[in-house]
Symmetry: C2
Subunit: 336 residues, 2 copies
Amino acid sequence: MKKWTWLYLLLIGAYTIYALNFFYSKGSAGQRVDEIGLSGSLEEKYVMVTFQSGIDYWKSVLKGFEDAAELLNVSVEYRGSAQYDVREQMTVLEQVIAKKPAGIALTVMNPKALTPSIDKAVDAGIPVVLFDSGAPLSKAYSLLATDNYSAGVTAARTMASLIGERGDVGVVTLPNQLNHQERTNGFKDTISSEFPNMRLVAVKDGKGDRIVSRDAATKIMKQFPSVKGIFNTDAVGGVGVADAVRLEQKQSEVKVIGFDTDKVTLDMVREGAISATLAQGAWNMGYWSLQFLFHLHHGLISPDSGQTADASPLPVNVDTGITVVTKDNVANYYLK
Amino acid sequence: MKKWTWLYLLLIGAYTIYALNFFYSKGSAGQRVDEIGLSGSLEEKYVMVTFQSGIDYWKSVLKGFEDAAELLNVSVEYRGSAQYDVREQMTVLEQVIAKKPAGIALTVMNPKALTPSIDKAVDAGIPVVLFDSGAPLSKAYSLLATDNYSAGVTAARTMASLIGERGDVGVVTLPNQLNHQERTNGFKDTISSEFPNMRLVAVKDGKGDRIVSRDAATKIMKQFPSVKGIFNTDAVGGVGVADAVRLEQKQSEVKVIGFDTDKVTLDMVREGAISATLAQGAWNMGYWSLQFLFHLHHGLISPDSGQTADASPLPVNVDTGITVVTKDNVANYYLK
């Protein structure tokens, strides 16, 4: 009889554990949000889609996307065109849409080419948010990106503090691209409104190329020998400008501000060839893209916006901000 | 012996339930985020602080704040100055800071007066985000608000579709307040860049007052009898403009666009005296303010931004968007 008693106890105990375990785990494994806290299901897959999918910059965005997914207990996938090729990106996006994921975070290489696919996804009930570069006329719910004008403002203030708020400065940029025009305008406007003893003497085309940007910077220094600083609005060109300053042996006279945090730029910041570079809020773009998609998928959105054509169920524009990277904090910006 | 067996079974079963219950509930009641999903503790209190705390507009913001708190399993408190009185708001804010809450979401009546208190809170380790109106030079982490220029763009496009993209239009506004200047500029720029057959003929001061705005609108209609539409950039004035159109018996000739969704405006939209009004993303301001504060309190922020002076641990600016409210969807906007 005693043997049987223990057996009963064991069986009933095991069953109780099994039953409670099932009961408690149901909340977080179900399709809907957990009773307590925000949590999804691992079967919920959110896809991040880029172009030139191998570049470093996207890795920081993807890290934010993955960090949010881990906290919310959902799955992610990373896709993108290998090349800077809009037809390839369209093909990838169409393949992703066909799988009906829980949501898509997309960076747009070309708004005109990709808007039809974005709208098709939204019409099919797949939430889409855009990051880094947008498609203003598409049905995507939100754009999470750098406010480029503000980035230019920050560059101007940083330059001012580097050169003691006094002297001539130049810009090397891509004058035909909207985001670079905005960076240049923010720089220009801030110099003229906040720093009466500074003057912007030249804006030159560096074509986003290291050699072309180097030559543009050299021309600025030859034409304006008094120049105290050059702001380059893109990553690759910034390295070229630093090359030029080195070649002219003007490292102590001309300060260089670059953009983004690719490895070559960071190395030059560490060595002092570039005085400062501007880090975009890449992690935040990825993190809040996933949060927004999760909220759309679960219907956790503004209750007022359900029935209108111009509805804003989510914030429509998110400026993820800029951080100034100098020798002091450059170590934080190398990819781990 | 049989009786004892059942007693044993009962006791062991009860203990197992107790133990498992304790084990599972620990995650969500602890100070840190739950193992699965985002969840806080009810002891964590987040405070929303306004001025003129009784007005309807804040109720929608508070609803978003509360909805987020419920999902994240944390507590909220609502505080504010009863009057439009910056000293009273400062006193309230100081009282809130003294209680060391988990975070503060604040709308700023006067940036200059409130910035020292905001900075004091942040320096004391209390996260602060701002909503609706900001304090650009303060240490607050983020501003969640309407992009007023974009709101003006939306108003212009709405007006164009109301009057068939053709005819003279006017604006009644508060020309000395920055947010109203931005709304007017967005309206003006969009008319001139997108609608060649429309013309902005008058911009008048309504002082945010129903009578003054009524008189301003009457003057516009007398001076420009061909006027087809008037955009009023604030809530109270919009009602006055609609009064003027009624008094002049021009309801079928002059379209009125108002701002915000207080009850009088909504009633006029329902009756057709106001053709459209612009709803701000108040719920989103509240909802994402709480989310941001929760992320700051729990350290769930951009890992790159920890050690820099200009750090952006969170998105710095969030445009919560605008929704166009017309007869078709006005029913959604009455406070429940």
